[in-house]
């Protein structure tokens, strides 16, 4: 009986933190793409919003899974506007987890309304820019995910399979027709050509309403049937010279990034396991030994960087961060030294 209650409690805590009004307000502000560091830091905090704990190795693996799954969904969107349908699929699945909690359900519905308000009216061109920008975040990530390899949606080199068959995006006709018109606009010739694929027209458009058939399967729960959660590290990251450019160069914008994070995380309440509810640790590997081994053998280029908010020399930021720090416990994380130039952050960590 008790483990089940704990599990529901964990889901409720994480989801209610994620959909917290203040947090959502920050997310909805017009802003640039987050750096990988910033996103990983927010993710870490979110994952610790309940009594559940994960070791570094399991946290890395969870983040890998999330990143590659989302990359897959964005990459395979038939039309750019479908990223919104993917998001609605995410929300629909989340609502399924918290069916019995009306307060949190309401939070999620409110977020739905905000998404519709802000994104519902964007043009195809604007969605294309959003999709292209998101794809920049995922560029050069080729971590292999067991469930994807098994389902043959990912190749052994880590690249996703792009099928040349199946339903077309809503609004696209089946390729293969050349129509010629005269000066009066009358069709004078119709010729077919072989286009190489095997496509069918989309049956209908997915619904953008609060409730409706999204049609698109991308973004629905990958694990609705019991599935393995393995990821494979070797050869996962290509073009490292280009990719690590981001973390090697000294970051004069680190302070701005900290401010952004302070606003995002500021409202988050970190739970400490105490009282009658025992905390529990989630291990994404088969055994504790395997988890330890994974932490030791993770390739250096795949170390995730998390910003350690300890202290800064800047008085103003210091005060703001001190206030936030008072609200939650700082986790003890060994500092990864994968980047060489983060002078400001290095100074902070030493204080």
């Amino acid at each position: 009986m008790q483990p089940f209650c704990t599990f529901t409690g964990v889901l409720n805590d994480i989801i209610s933190t994620m959909f917290n009004r203040k947090f959502m307000e920050e997310l909805f502000k017009p802003q640039e793409l987050y750096s990988k560091k910033a996103l990983r830091t927010v993710y870490d905090r979110l994952a610790h919003a309940s009594i559940m704990r994960l070791n570094q190795a399991s946290m890395d693996k969870l983040y890998d899974l999330m990143t590659m799954a989302f990359k897959y969904q964005v990459l395979l969107c038939p039309r750019p506007k479908d990223v919104l349908l993917v998001t609605f699929n995410h929300l629909d699945a989340i609502k399924g987890f918290i069916r019995d909690s009306p307060t949190i359900l309401h939070q999620v519905d409110e977020t739905f309304q905000q998404l519709t308000e802000i994104y519902g009216g964007l043009s195809a061109g604007e969605f294309q820019l959003i999709r292209q920008t998101l794809l920049i975040f995922f560029q050069d990530l080729h971590i292999r995910v067991s469930i994807f390899l098994k389902d043959k949606v990912q190749n052994s080199n880590g690249r996703f399979v792009l099928p040349v068959s199946g339903p077309l995006p809503w609004g696209t006709k089946v390729p293969g027709l050349i129509r010629t018109f005269n000066n009066k606009g009358e069709e004078v010739r119709k010729v077919e050509f072989k286009h190489g694929g095997s496509y069918v027209a989309a049956p209908k458009e997915g619904s953008f309403e609060l409730y409706g058939d999204r049609v698109l399967k991308l973004g629905t729960n990958m694990y609705s049937v019991n599935r393995p959660v393995e990821t494979h590290m070797s050869g996962a990251s290509e073009n490292l010279a280009a990719q690590t450019q981001e973390s090697i160069a000294p970051n004069p914008l680190a302070k701005e990034e900290l401010n952004l994070l302070a606003r995002l995380i500021g409202g988050m309440e970190i739970k400490k396991p105490s009282g009658p509810e025992p905390g529990f640790r989630l291990n994404l590997f088969t055994t504790d030994e395997e988890e330890e081994q994974a932490a030791l053998t993770r390739p250096e280029e795949l170390f995730y960087e998390v910003i350690n908010i300890q202290a800064t020399q800047d008085q103003q930021t210091n005060e703001e961060l001190a206030r936030i720090m008072g609200e939650f416990e700082i986790l003890d994380q060994p500092r990864r030294s994968a980047s060489k130039g983060d002078d400001l952050l290095a100074m902070m960590d030493e204080l």
Binding site: Q31, E32, L33, S35, A38, L75, P78, R79, P80, S123, A124, G125, E126, Q128, L129, R131, Q132, T133, L135, I136, Q139, D140, H142, N155, R159, F160, V161, L162, V164, L168, P169, G171, T172, K173, V174, P175, G176, L177, I178, R179, T180, F181, N182, N183, G185, V188, R189, V191, F193, K194, H195, G196, G197, E238, N239, A242, Q245, L253, E256, L260
Partner: protein, 331 residues
């Protein structure tokens, strides 16, 4: 029929942009230059005919305020009567270099001006027309720069108003004679095409409305406009009148690149590259299209494609996340 040739490795993979490959042919020097955008940087490289890479250089988008480094939207060589300039557009401004990318000769910072907080500000769409270089903007405006025969004394001479949504691509060609004075076409996110006549003052000749999807790529050749759309269609129009002559249901995903000389090359996110033969029908004089060749680049969302020689007997392709330039030549 085309066969796959040796690929040219890239230091950084190609970004998921449209028109993400520029090719400068230098037949006299037996060299070809390639330009590809990676993200915050762009890579230029030169290769010998067999695709052997000879030299490479990386250019960065010029800094500005913001949390992350600015992203480049396009890199393109502009061939002018007396010089060749390399133009780089980003979310901060327009950078112009000598053709090998060694020296920046001009920097134009974008004026966010009327942009609301939610609008992305960027320059995109680059083409040369005579001694002018035209660059498109997020606002729909097209900036016209007057380029001297040499030196950095580049001047912004005109700002063209024709579009209300972000410009996607610009195509130009030398004017075709008295019957057709149209020598520039600009395209935007709404699918609208504007046809212009260049000169000390550019003149808007005609507009070809869109139909609800972006037109990411446009070409102009011998008075014919070829436009690729977000729904996978390619349409051919008569430049002087704006009349639609051909409509091809060409691709299963958004088209991201076109090239025209004399065959038409179309590339899209559906992993396919198609080559089409254009001709004028003897009776009606209207344009006819015939499909010549289709090439599938497995599991790759193509983002750039260009012919590598004037006869169109070879072409190069870039794809999102791919750290190489793929090359094909006819057998």
């Amino acid at each position: 029929m085309f066969r796959r040739e040796r690929s040219i490795p890239l230091r950084g993979s190609a970004a998921a942009l449209c028109n993400n490959l520029s090719v400068l042919q230098l037949p006299g020097r037996n060299l070809t230059h390639f330009g590809v955008v990676h993200g915050p940087s762009a890579q230029l490289l030169s290769a010998a005919p067999e695709g052997v890479p000879l030299a490479q250089r990386q250019l960065q988008a010029k800094e500005g305020a913001g949390v992350s480094p600015p992203l480049i939207t396009q890199v393109h060589w502009c061939v002018l009567p007396f010089r060749v300039l390399l133009v780089l557009t980003s979310h901060r401004g327009i950078q112009m270099y000598e053709s090998d990318g060694s020296v920046m000769v001009y920097w134009h910072a974008l004026d966010a001006g009327d942009a609301s907080l939610v609008q992305a500000v960027f320059a995109r769409g680059i083409a040369s027309s005579g001694h002018f270089i035209c660059v498109g903007m997020w606002s729909g405006r097209v900036l016209v720069f007057d380029i001297p025969a040499k030196g950095p004394n580049i001047v912004l001479s005109e700002e063209l108003a024709g579009h209300q949504t972000p410009v996607t691509d610009i195509a130009t060609e030398p004017a075709q004679g008295q019957d057709c004075v149209a020598d520039m076409v600009t395209a935007d996110d709404s699918g609208l095409l504007c046809v212009w006549q260049s000169g000390p003052e550019f003149k808007l000749l005609t507009r070809i409305p869109g139909f609800g999807v972006p037109c990411p790529s446009v070409q102009l050749w011998q008075g014919t406009i070829a436009a690729g759309y977000g729904n996978g269609q390619v349409r051919l129009y008569e430049a002087s009148t704006g009349t639609l002559h051909v409509q091809i249901d060409a691709h299963a995903r958004a088209i991201c690149a076109l090239d025209l000389a004399p065959e038409l090359l179309s590339a899209a996110e559906d992993t396919f590259v198609h080559i089409w033969k254009l001709s004028r029908s003897p009776e009606g004089g209207y344009i006819e299209v015939e499909h010549c060749h289709g090439e599938c680049v497995p599991d790759t969302q193509v983002c750039g494609a260009r012919f590598c020689d004037p006869a169109g007997s070879s072409f190069a392709v870039t794809g999102y996340d791919l750290a190489e330039i793929l090359r094909f030549s006819s057998m």
